[in-house]
């Protein structure tokens, strides 16, 4: 049924949109892509300092400052937004409180409140930004996640993103909203947070360790590709009620990713160290075990979590997005990392 709709004509995108998580990594890219062509881009950001950064994207940008868990703020966010597309990107990945409880409050609670307001405001499509985390890691390096792969949520973040997806699915089934679930893996691209800049810088200095033999595969997604995927999901006839993996064309071996980063840094004129320290896969296993133990007591240590995931293959197949919604990622890993490096240098961030 839906594959037939893959060839049906697109719907016209509404001239109003609502974006939650607008000041985040994805949000900044998305708002800049939307602002020129939409009459109103209503944004939710948690912090007032983000307001000028978004307003600069254009006169159609209208920012509300507040917490995505706040019923009153959401009333304001959605006031006068009938038939707007909702891009729900607000989420927590690494909780600032260092407690896993925050993951559920924002990722599940926030999603529930936004879905409820979207329904009441008579929103158009609801694009929900999910994650690979509800699926865990692939069993082998050659396995690829499809949209029908079984759920195997990885720790508290994975569990919270899974529950959020279930809320979106149920709201769609009940006819409350026209939901589409997008599952992007590891991001890279402009407006990256400090932790990503640090990653590039550490690779440049030859200090970022490769866990295991580097043959584990990782799917990544350039922010521009993800934005393209979201905009296709907004208009494709087949999309409502579906879920899609949105990633770069192919996953890469992790050692290849690091090598590509080094080449991109060099291509932007930076001196790059040839060093590549390695950690045995065991180190990743130990970190993952410690991460899991801490999370079961409600605590979160970012470094352990990141190290724990570096050992894994997390790779997906984007065929369904290609065939059903016309997703065709334009940017390669090399070009995307170059763009990230340029973005850092333009802002005076040292690598």
């Amino acid at each position: 049924m839906n594959t037939d709709l893959g060839s049906a004509p697109d719907v016209t995108p509404p001239d109003r949109v609502v974006v939650t998580g607008a000041s985040g990594w994805l949000g900044q890219n998305l708002v800049r892509a939307l602002a020129p062509s939409r009459a109103q881009v209503r944004c939710l950001v948690p912090d007032a300092t983000a307001v000028p950064l978004l307003e600069i994207a254009g006169p159609s940008v209208d920012v509300v400052v507040g917490d995505v868990r706040d019923p009153d703020i959401l009333d304001r966010l959605f006031s006068d937004t009938a038939s707007a597309t909702v891009f729900h990107a607000a989420a927590v990945i690494h909780p600032a409180s260092k407690r896993t409880r925050e993951l559920y409050d924002v990722n599940v609670g926030g999603t529930q409140l936004v879905l409820d307001r979207a329904r009441r405001a008579g929103a158009g499509r609801f694009l929900h930004v999910s994650s690979n985390s509800p699926f865990g890691a692939n069993p082998t390096a050659d396995d690829r996640f499809t949209e029908d792969s079984p759920f195997a949520p990885y720790l508290a973040y994975g569990q919270s993103k899974l529950e959020a997806e279930e809320l979106v699915r149920r709201a769609t089934e009940r006819g409350d909203v026209e939901g589409v679930i997008l599952r992007p893996p590891w991001f890279y691209g402009p407006f990256q947070p400090a932790r990503q800049t640090q990653w590039l810088a550490t690779i440049r200095r030859g200090r970022f360790p490769l866990v295991g033999d580097g043959s584990q595969r990782r799917s990544m997604v350039f922010t521009g590709n993800l934005v393209h995927g979201l905009l296709r999901a907004e208009v494709a006839a087949a999309a409502p009620g579906r879920a899609y993996w949105i990633a770069d064309a192919e996953p890469h071996r992790l050692d290849e990713v690091f090598a590509t980063v080094r080449r991109a840094l060099a291509a932007e004129g930076l001196a790059v160290s040839g060093g590549q320290p390695r950690l045995p896969r065991l180190a990743g296993l130990v970190a993952a075990t410690a991460d899991s133990a801490l999370q079961s007591t409600g605590r979160y240590v970012q470094a352990l979590h990141v190290l724990g995931e570096l050992k894994d293959t997390i790779a997906c197949d984007i065929s369904r997005a290609r065939s059903e919604i016309g997703y065709d990622p334009p940017t390669t890993l090399f070009d995307g990392i170059r763009a990230s490096v340029r973005w850092c240098l333009e802002r005076g961030q040292s690598l």
Partner: protein, 483 residues
Amino acid sequence: MTRSSRIIETEVLIIGSGAGGATTAAVLAEAGRRVTVVEEGPWIDPDAVEPFSIEEMVRKYRHHGSSAALGSPPIAYAEGRCVGGSTEVNSGLWNRLPDYLAEEWSRTYDIDEFSPTALDAYAERVESWQSVGKVPGAPPLSSALLERGAAKLGWRSVEFSRVFRYEAGVADATRGVKQTMARTQIPRAIAAGASLLPECRVVRLERKGPRIIGALCRQQTADGGPDEDVVVRADHVFVCGGAIQTPALLQRSGIRRRIGSGLKLHPTIKIAARFPHLLDHDSIPMHRVIEFAPNLTIGGSASRRGHIGLALADSGLDHEDALADWERMSVYYAAIRSEGSGRVRAVPGLRAPLVTYRLTDGDMSRLARGLVHLGELLLAAGATELHPSVEGGPVVRQTDELLQWWNRVDRTRSNLMTVHLTSSVRMGNDRSSTGADSFGAVHDFDNLRVNDASLLPDAPGVNPQAAVMTIALRNAEHFLASP
């Protein structure tokens, strides 16, 4: 102290006279079996005690109505302890087991003949025995407010049915009589020849291999004299003591495999809400907001002056002003289905089992969300002041103050309770996760069955009485049909 002792011979021994036990007794007695029901609690005339009063707490409840599952935070609960069990003290709300849960449980636990269609057939028969329906006339205001608030927010709400009987022509929602087990299935069982021994507590079951050969009981004597030892010898035994007492008794009798773990509750958080108008205080609201069901439901609680005082005291804040205005207040709740679970452990030498419950961070978050949604709803319904059951509150008067509650609902400050307890035995063919088979026969035993809320594989997200009675009827008929 010398004790006299006697032996009773019977065909079917039923332990517990609540929703499960009374249903089993009525069905088996009417089928011509010789049935003896032993009940730990006393027989109390259903008309003798005012519902939700202090006298009811003292006489009809176990532990004077207060016990708690230990944990972080602890969760208060209550069990009925009298002929008729918890049906004598509950709200009387009636809701069939949702179809998708029947399907999910049937699949996950491998339960035979557990389709929604099969269960509906039994549910219809149970409903024909007692008067099940919506209130006649207008619902009480405390209930209508839930519908009003929900309508304003565009949230789905329903009016639940109840097992109340009304005289012909009566259109007053408050003048119904709750059809409890003591009024319905127990008299039916006795009329069909069953014998009932109240104030008779089963201490232990005696087993020989895969058979239960007797039950050692202690019978309180009417004149206050020493307790009597009673040994009941039966061909078949049904344990129907509820999700706490059933596993405790089985454990005391050395039956432990998959017994007592997996306890499920409906963790509940409350708000005492103040309105600008007078409210009723004698019925429990029958409206429920199901917008976020099954994982989160919103409803109303007992709201006599004592309950309002307790709810206000939960915040630990000054509330003299609100308490003086109690007639304009009512208590409402948000209840969740939890990912976490608990354990019942019989402790040698102690009468009461140790009950513990672990809530996950996801559960705590769901409770916080429930409190925020409940707050939104009550403000939309016109409430002017919301007192949450969270230490330190704060009291909320407008929507923009609700955000604060997210961080206040934590493991050290939340005052939680539950009215429902289930799942401490579970039914199904999957032996790795159940203590009894598809029809309640305890695994590895020839003549021992469970037939109460402890069989439900998970908390149902609705009042469990309908599910318990439906399944009890199904299991009782299966027993009658077996060789």
